[in-house]
Assembly symmetry: C2
Homo-oligomer: 416 residues x 2
């Protein structure tokens, strides 16, 4: 049996397990300090699951306990009422055209980002990714053969990297001359916290339609957009239904990182091409992918996600988002008060910080872990353009965030 | 953007959606009869979720409601205590060598059967599948390019089909001359209800090791084995750790079809080969697949699955299995009393019945739906060798099963 050799191209471990390994090792070697560690690394939420979701999940479990209300296999795309609620509340009520059956429920955006590659021709599309970038976009493409060998300077041959820099505010423009067939965009951005404005997103949609490319739009952090002029969905841009798939998650609004639920929007008007050049809608392919490879999301989880759209659920989600955005502001002001240059933390739960002179991003990671017991994410883990930066996550308790700022302030490092 | 053309090779809809469509259409056209419909088609459980699982899930949800016990992202392979419990109770306590970190938790076996193909070289292994067969094995291979065009007589070019017939008791022998790199086996079998004995499984393990092939062993129905001489895991056979991955599910023992949880066992001693012929363990590839494409199974679901291994959980699972096996016996005797030839229903929850003269399997399906309001699964949906047979599922309430037998008895069809 031949294995998938593409896996052997992958460099090192996936970023977050590597961070976890270093933190665990630090704790073992420094047991007295271990309890002081504050994790602002992985971007995992810390606040309790909203009461509305918990109550709905409890009720769903009770349903499973009685013959008359037992629920077995559900539709592979999610229960109809859940898809309807999402399409109605997240899109139609905001004037966006999305039908119920264009919503595909999943156990989270991370899985969706990988799964979507199932319906594209492996090894035959040019994939474009921002740099820095959520590593899952890159690694899943390497795994299916959409990338070549690892390059010595970081990254992989064959992928088109779209540099995010202080100069462009970490919002890359569409490629001027290079071909790309599929482009990943994520706004508000992980890891840089950049939020795209309407004109910039319009340029992307315009480019994609002209290039017959597909935009994979990761809107996992859309709830953090407070500026009403900024788009929260790519479908706010005319023409996006012909060129974009959107990923949404309940992890960062409803605190579902452990509960696991998200969804994709795959418009019926979105088409690719067959090898012999015929246009082919993606919706039936994506539907077939789900009906063949899944039995849908856990029933109590679906009910929990649905409950986030009730009046109580919305209020509880809004409170969570407000809390984390408050943290983000505190962190951004905190690092800036230390004389560091920072982005994000506004309309986004991540703060992207330039490393002080003389330290690279894993250097900052190790120093902050060892000397301040604060876990951040080294920018280099997000790509070559991430070197020289680190990410601080606002997903923490306000008291921990205050403590992080204090430790940064008291930090005796020579350069940080 | 080029789509994955392999999807266009897929024939018709996935079997169960097609059944659901016909049942829905029947209900619409015959509203007076709709309430009488008894579903013995899809193999979905009907009894309430065990109390032990519900209590554990309730407790887990309460944990998520407090800061001190909140759980966010879990390990992508499942929480350590859950993996330990599974390895200990399902394997080590039965004398089988399986380590905790050889267990990979998932949201169900259907997903695992598709996902496992990620780590094999697409289009370069010869895949062997029984016929009749669970359609997911075939369709997922078509989707990744491991099969050629659909054949007019059913099936796809490029796959090696292993016929199951009344002559071999629906237990195919290893191929004598044909090459195969990956073989799917499912015992107790879906759809035929055949249970493999130790000598036959030993022949498969022996063959696979000699052929350097991998056996994908679907043991989703292992809880239904009551004969102590029959293997419940392929790892009962010496040498299987060098040639087999096992799929397990909580759907049919713990009634988790709506809750969604299963796992794979990937032994560290199992190896494939790289394109240039080097041996490569599969375990790190499978681990990388999970850590890159998933954030693990919903926390309350994991706790629910774990609770099935408590003394109360085991007793409740045993009662469920006993109930469904009782149904299976009633159904098998019922169809045999009608003069029909049948297999399974012993050590398995499915009864596999030969169609009466003059009716093919969709013909039986339509006749039983229209005239008796009983939903069965047409054998043709499971492959060319399934034509001439139909499957009855024992997953139903005992009263419904009695009613099904009565309706079969009173059935006025000329030949059934």
């Amino acid at each position: 049996m031949l294995i998938n050799d593409n896996y052997l191209k992958l460099q090192a471990g996936y970023l977050f397990p590597e961070i976890a390994r270093r933190v665990t090792e630090y704790g073992r070697s420094n047991p007295a300090q271990a309890a002081r560690v504050i994790r602002c690394g992985i971007g995992d939420v810390t606040e309790p699951l909203p009461d509305a979701a918990r109550r709905a999940m409890h009720a769903a479990i009770d349903e499973l306990g009685a013959h008359s209300s037992f629920v077995g296999y559900g539709p592979p795309f999610g229960h109809e009422t859940v898809r309807h609620t999402i399409a109605e509340c997240d899109f139609r009520s905001r004037g966006l055209e999305v039908e119920d059956d264009e919503i595909f429920l999943s156990d989270g955006s991370k899985g969706d980002c990988g799964a979507i590659l199932d319906i594209f021709a492996a090894g035959r599309n040019r994939m474009a990714v921002p740099d820095p970038v959520y590593p899952v976009y890159v690694d899943t493409n390497v795994m299916v053969g959409n990338a070549g060998a690892a390059r010595t300077g970081g990254g992989y041959e064959g992928l088109l990297y779209l540099p995010g820099t202080p100069e462009n505010g970490f919002i890359p423009e569409p490629p001027a001359t290079e071909r790309a067939d599929v482009v990943y965009l994520c706004f508000p951005n992980n890891p840089t916290g950049a939020a795209i404005d309407r004109p910039a997103l319009e340029r992307w949609v315009h480019w994609a339609r002209a290039a017959e490319a597909v935009i994979l739009y990761d809107a996992a952090y859309e709830a953090y957009v407070t500026d009403p002029t900024l788009p929260r969905s790519i479908y706010e841009i005319p023409g996006a239904r012909e060129c974009a798939i959107e990923f949404r998650s309940f992890s960062k609004n409803g605190g579902f990182t452990g509960v696991r639920c998200g969804f994709t929007v795959c418009p019926k008007s979105l088409k690719g091409r067959t090898s012999d050049g015929r246009p082919q809608p993606l919706h039936p392919l994506w539907a077939r992918r789900w009906s063949t490879k899944s039995n849908g999301v856990s029933y109590p989880v679906q009910r929990g996600a649905e409950a986030l759209y009730t009046p109580e659920g919305r209020a509880q989600v809004a409170a969570l988002v407000e809390l984390y955005l408050g943290n983000a502001g505190v962190l951004r002001r905190g690092v800036e008060a230390r004389g560091l240059r920072a982005w994000g933390g506004v309309n986004a739960p991540y703060i992207w910080v330039q490393c002080p002179e003389g330290l690279d991003s894993w250097g900052v990671f190790d120093r902050l872990l060892h000397d301040a017991q604060v876990v951040v994410t080294p920018g280099a883990g997000f790509g070559a353009c991430g070197e020289g930066f680190f990410r601080i996550s606002a997903f923490n308790s306000p008291s921990n965030v205050e403590e992080v700022v204090k430790r940064l302030g008291a930090f005796d490092g020579s350069s940080i």
